[in-house]
């Protein structure tokens, strides 16, 4: 598949824009958003924690869309989108987990605890990691793509659990950034959202969602190129 120069130009422009946004986001986090009084600079992990979570949420959602489209059309490009989205989404959700652990150590006095939210996010991550392993284990290409499409759709239920768990379980200690919660226990680590914090947070979310999409776009291109090389190898073998 050859790409139009216009599309490539867009990808290049957006790549540079996302680099600029990451730099601007870092400046906002370091210099614009004031350190929180109790949590100090540990609170600043919140921006990348939430930003990468939104990024992975969008990508796992894209994998659902890709799965549905593949089952409808059986076009391989949807399989490529599903694979790229999950691969990049897995790294972004890992960033969410490690940044959360780095925040939890000073605030909760532990790197990890089996809180309902942390448990569901671990299940979510393992579910998507299993996608890559199981996919690699199926040799028949059509079966593999069909399996991947269905798995990608069903796996999204783990994302939904992760999102809603802190709103329906009363025993979680994980802070809720926005919206209602039923938590009856002490939400250790909650803080007031000042306007600067909100502005920096929204900017960071936008930045990391865009970055996740651009990396996925590059990953899809890599996959397409790999298919081309593969096809050329086959053609060469057939001609010899």
């Amino acid at each position: 598949m050859e790409y139009s120069s216009q599309r490539t130009a867009w990808l290049t422009i957006l790549t540079y824009v996302s680099i600029g946004l990451v730099i601007a986001s870092a400046i906002m986090i370091l210099a614009y958003a004031r350190p929180e009084q109790v949590q100090g600079n540990a609170q600043k992990l919140f921006y990348i924690h939430l930003g990468t979570f939104f990024g992975s949420f969008v990508l796992f959602g894209a994998a659902v869309f890709a799965g549905i489209q593949y089952l409808r059309t059986r076009h391989n490009r949807w399989d490529d989108l599903g694979l790229a989205s999950i691969e990049v989404g897995l790294i972004f959700s890992l960033v969410t987990i490690v940044s959360g652990a780095a925040w939890a150590r000073p605030i909760w006095n532990t790197w990890w605890t089996w809180d309902p939210r942390l448990t569901t996010v671990a299940v979510m991550w393992l579910t998507y990691a299993a996608y890559l392993m199981l996919r690699a284990g199926i040799e028949d290409p059509d079966r593999r793509r069909r399996f991947a499409a269905v798995y990608g759709i069903l796996a999204f239920s783990s994302v939904i659990f992760t999102v809603i768990i802190i709103r329906v379980r009363p025993d979680t200690i994980h802070p809720v950034a926005a919206g209602p919660t039923l938590s009856e226990t002490d939400v250790t680590g909650a803080f007031d959202m000042t306007p600067r914090i909100v502005q920096t947070l929204l900017f960071s979310i936008f930045t990391y969602v865009l970055v996740s999409i651009i990396i996925t776009w590059h990953r899809i291109r890599l996959e397409n190129r790999a298919h081309q090389v593969q096809q050329r190898k086959v053609n060469l073998l057939m001609n010899t």
Partner: protein, 85 residues
């Protein structure tokens, strides 16, 4: 007007740096892996161009030394099996 950067004087800076450092390693590693796989594909393409230019007979003898297998993709890239024409 942004305030002067006073972050180093604030508590838990080490945890912030740890978190952002790990994030940079993970996302940077992902980008590096895509770039590395892309470079491998470019090498494959260069080799394929040479083999295609050599022609079928020579390509056959060359392919004994560097055989491109139908089911063998460059590491970490396509897992799609080519369809037999």
């Amino acid at each position: 007007m942004p305030e002067p950067i006073i972050i180093l004087a604030v508590k838990y800076t080490d945890y912030m740096l740890l978190g952002y450092g790990l994030a940079a390693v993970l996302i940077g590693g992902l980008i590096a892996s895509i770039w590395w796989r892309y470079q491998l594909l470019r090498k494959d393409e260069t080799l394929l161009e040479q083999l295609e230019q050599e022609g079928p007979a020579e390509a056959h003898s060359t392919s004994e030394h560097a055989p491109p297998q139908p089911g063998q993709a460059s590491p970490g890239t396509s897992d799609r099996q080519p369809t037999t024409p």
